[in-house]
Structures are given as C-alpha cells and as structure tokens.
C-alpha cells in the first residue's frame, strides 16, 4: 500500500488531505457570504472531494469518511442529523458500483459524471427530507443546487487534481 508522490515520509499528512478537503468544502458551503445571493443555494463543495477521491483513491475516501463529512455537513448547516450523511452514502454507493464507467470519462464527460453523482445526492436528499418532514418539498431549490454544484465542479476539480498529483498520488500497487 505504498504510494508515490506527495510528502514522501509524511504519509499521514497526505492521507488526510481528501478528508480535509471534504471538511473544507463543508466550511465553505456554510460561510456567511454568498456571491449568488439567496436566489441560488450554496453549492455542495463537500461532495466534490468525496466524488473525486472516491474515484481515484477509494482507499483514502472510504464510505466511513463520506458518512462523516455528510454528518458534519448536517451539524454545521443546522439540518436534521443524518440527512446529508445518508445522501452522501447513497451517492458513494452509486459511484462505487459504477466506478469503471465514471473513471473512464474525460473532459466534458467527466463533468457529466460528476453531474450524475450530484443528481443522485440532490435526489436522495430531496426524498429523505420530504419523508423526514412528511411533506412534499418544492423541487426548484434542489434543481438550482444541482446546477450550481455541477458547474462549479469545473474550477474546483483543477485544484483537486493539482493537490492529488502534488501531495496524494496514486497507489504504487497500480503500476
């Protein structure tokens, strides 16, 4: 399980980078200033590292970490506990099942791949929230959230890819 690139001996630091980025996404999603105002909901930044490292390094982004990031998202955002955690786990399950299909995508296809994962997360959240409150919610907010998250993945994935190449790296066993 040795890996290439990154800090060399400082394996722990590079191993926690995916989770740290997930937690950073939670914080950024809940900062008080929104460039889009109230018209568009905050993007789900936390889903981006979960999706990215679930594809390229699932040993670092495990279902447990996805659950924990979702749970902290629930805690920080003030939602009932478990809603985003369950949505993230459901998304993780889909990515895990279709990893070959998702990982084979490139360019615009990669964005579509993430959009599919976002659609799963938003749909799961919508369904769980509606069941939780036993009230059918308006879908407009979820559609906006899906759209803005998918679009903002384009700049964020560049940062994630740089961090992966520079600090995390692939597994040695894959070469």
């Amino acid at each position: 399980m040795e890996r290439l690139g990154g800090f060399g001996s400082n394996r722990v630091a590079s191993n926690v980078i995916p989770v740290l980025f997930g937690l950073l996404g939670v914080v950024i999603t809940n900062v008080p200033i929104s460039a889009f105002g109230s018209w568009i909901p905050a993007p789900m930044y936390a889903l981006m590292p979960v999706y990215y490292w679930c594809l390229v390094r699932p040993d670092l982004m495990t279902p447990g970490w996805a659950f924990l990031i979702g749970f902290i998202h629930d805690i920080v955002s003030g939602e009932p506990p478990g809603l985003w955690a369950a949505s993230f786990v459901a998304t993780y399950a889909i990515i895990d099942k279709q990893r070959d299909a998702f990982a084979g995508l490139s360019g615009f296809g990669a964005i579509l791949g993430f959009a599919t994962a976002t659609l799963v997360a938003c749909s799961a959240h919508y369904v769980i929230f509606s069941l939780y409150h036993w009230h059918l919610m308006p879908v407009t907010g979820s559609i906006k959230e899906f759209a803005v998250t998918s679009i903002l993945y384009i700049p964020v994935v560049v940062v994630l890819a740089y961090m992966h190449r520079r600090f995390v790296g692939p597994l040695r066993s894959e070469f």
Binding site: M1, V27, N30, V31, P32, I33, S34, A35, S38, P41, A42, Y52, L55, V56, R57, P58, D59, T62, P63, G64, A66, F67, G70, I72, I75, V76, S77, G78, E79, P80, P81, G82, A85, A86, V89, A90, Y92, A93, R99, A103, L105, S106, G107, A110, G113, I128, H135, M137, P138, K144, E145, I154, V157, V158, A161, H164, P170, L171, S173, E174
Partner: protein, 343 residues
C-alpha cells in the same frame, strides 16, 4: 480535467467500514434524529463554538470578494444611484420628522391615559458568521451566545425589521431560524385592523399568512408586525407588508436576510401577569346584594387539603420565641414553627 487520465485504485483497505454498515448507520442516524431532534444540539453548538474562529476568519475575505464583485456592476450606475439616494434621503427626513412628532404625541396620550408603558427591551448586537442557504433550510449563525445573554426564542432584527428567531444557543454562538424557513411560525398582527394570524415560512422569499380569521380581506401593502402573543416575542416589531398571491396572502419582508451582517438579538423580558386579588366586596354575589355562600364542610368538599398561600413572616428579634399557633389541619400534620430547642 478528465478522470480517465489517472489510474484508479480498487482497494479500499481492510480496516474500513463496509458500505452496507455505513448505510445502515446513516438510516439509523436519520431515525434517531427524528425521534430525538434535540439529541445533537449540544454537539452542534459545540462544533460551531469550536469553528467560530474559522468562520470569522473566512468571513472577511469572502465579504471583501463579495463587495468587490458587487461593486463591478455598480460602477456603471453610480450617478443614477446617487440621484435616487438623494431623493430617498429627502423623503426619509420628512418621515423622520413626522415620526418624531407622532412619538411625542403618543407619549402625551399615554401620560393622559395612565397607559401601561411598553416593557423594556434590551438587545445584543451580533455579527453573522455563518449562513446556511440550502434548498430546504435557511438559518444563520451569530457570534453571540449564552455568554452574551442570548437565549432561545429571542427575536433577531436588523435596521429594517425582523429576520428570525434564535432557536439554539452555544456558549459563544447562536443559531437563528429565519422567517422564510420551513419550520418558522410567528404570531403576527396585520394593521390597520390588527387582524391576528400566523406567518409561516415555506422556503420561499415571502412567508405565507395562515390561520387568518374567516372572511377577513387584507389589503395589499398593509403592514405586518409581531403580535406578541404567547409572550415569546415583543409586540410591534415590523416584519413586512402584505402581498396578494392568488388566493393566499404573503409577506414581503422588510429585512434582507441574505445581506444582513450586523443584527440585534432582542431580549424581551415580559413579566408574568398575575390576576389581581379579589376582595370580599368585589365578588359578583356580594355586588348583587346577596350574602356570600357559607363555606361547605371540609369532608363534603374534598379529601385533599388545600395548600395555604405563603405568608411573609418578619424576622423575630433575638431572644424572642415564636408564638405557637394552633393548627387547623389534621392531627398528624407536622408543626414546623417551633425551634429545635423547644422540644
């Protein structure tokens, strides 16, 4: 950008929780949260208290960036905006003078009528350090908590009107549920007829007016204020104006929840109101010229002894023993007004 350019790992290691276990855990967590909604409140406030420095640190650059992005578009409209603001300022000055005159007149009327003054309000100024803008949730985090006197239920207002209510307080932070949130319910009064209603959020920018009395027709642009029912919120806090929406009425809020940065937490200390004590002459029977009914025998009324009202006993001078009062109660009732040395 493509993911295909990287080799993917299939190994997830051995020491990790399997997906099925995590999924079951997530479902259990949802059910647990539904059954005990306040179970994670302490954890939530603890996490936010812990994250407060990070949230405050991230606030400044984001605020600068937001202001910078907003100012790009404003550059082209500065002249028109300036003219509009001057006109609005002149109009507001007129209203300010009118408000001052009316306030003085109201004070005089209250003095003449010996009216009960409004309860004193104090407030804590707090900054918004977090704002959850999610599809089904609209909350704020403020940097004032229990240590600053913030308590659940208090109203949060900005310069224009009410924004929401505090629903959870940590040591240094508070959570505010916004008026537009799905879980928000506020008793309101609609002027000029002071029609009572409940304003409920539905995640749209304009909350809905509910439980309005049958047949009441509201006029658009009627002002909506808090009614103060239930002694939870002070009465008269401006909220917004009525807007007709099909067969429903909605409230266009005065306060802009998305741009509010500095807010006030209003501390409302309404003293509990007790009914005045009724004298013998004020009983309806006595007032009608009839003799009051004779007290019924103890055994016929109830087997339960009524609790006597607390009586203030002045402190005895040193050396003087209290007089023993014969008890009217049951024989086995303890007599507590004798000093231990007397027995």
């Amino acid at each position: 950008m493509g993911n295909g350019s990287w080799k993917i790992s299939r190994s997830r290691g051995r020491a990790h929780l399997p997906l099925t276990v995590v999924a079951v855990l997530a479902i259990f967590l949802v059910l647990l949260g539904k059954a005990q909604s306040s179970l994670f409140d302490r954890a939530r406030t603890g996490v936010i208290d812990w994250m407060q420095p990070a949230l405050e640190a991230s606030r400044t650059p984001m605020e600068t960036m937001g202001r910078w992005m907003g100012s790009i578009g404003n550059i082209f409209w500065v002249y028109q905006e300036n003219l509009k603001l001057k006109e609005e300022n002149a109009r507001l000055k007129q209203w300010h003078n009118t408000a001052q005159v009316l306030t003085e007149r109201l004070k005089r009327y209250q003095l003449l009528l010996n009216a009960v003054p409004d309860p004193a309000l104090s407030s804590v100024v707090a900054r918004v350090i977090g704002r959850a803008n999610h599809p089904f949730l609209q909350t704020m985090i403020l940097d004032a908590g229990k240590s600053h006197g913030a308590k659940p239920g208090q109203a949060v207002v900005d310069q224009r009107g009410m924004i929401g209510r505090v629903y959870l307080t940590g040591e240094h932070t508070s959570w505010v549920i916004l008026l537009t949130d799905l879980n928000s319910r506020i008793p309101v009064s609609i002027e000029p007829n002071t029609d009572q209603a409940i304003m409920s959020g539905d995640n749209s920018p304009m909350p809905l007016i509910e439980t309005l009395a049958r047949g009441v027709e509201l006029k658009p642009d009627s002002q909506v204020v808090t009614s103060g029912d239930g002694d939870i919120l002070p009465a008269g806090i401006p909220i917004g104006v009525i807007v007709k929406d099909g067969s429903h009425y909605r409230v266009a809020l005065f306060a802009d929840q998305t741009t509010a940065q500095d807010v006030e937490i209003v501390d409302f200390k309404q003293k509990p109101e007790h009914p005045p004590s009724v004298g013998q002459q004020e009983l309806p029977v006595t007032a009608a010229g009839l003799a009051p009914a004779a007290p019924q025998p103890q055994a016929a009324t109830s087997q339960v002894m009524p609790v006597p009202p607390p009586v203030y006993k002045p402190p005895l001078p040193p050396g003087q023993k209290p007089a023993v009062v014969p008890q009217q109660g049951p024989a086995n009732a303890p007599v507590n007004n004798a000093e231990p040395g007397d027995q």
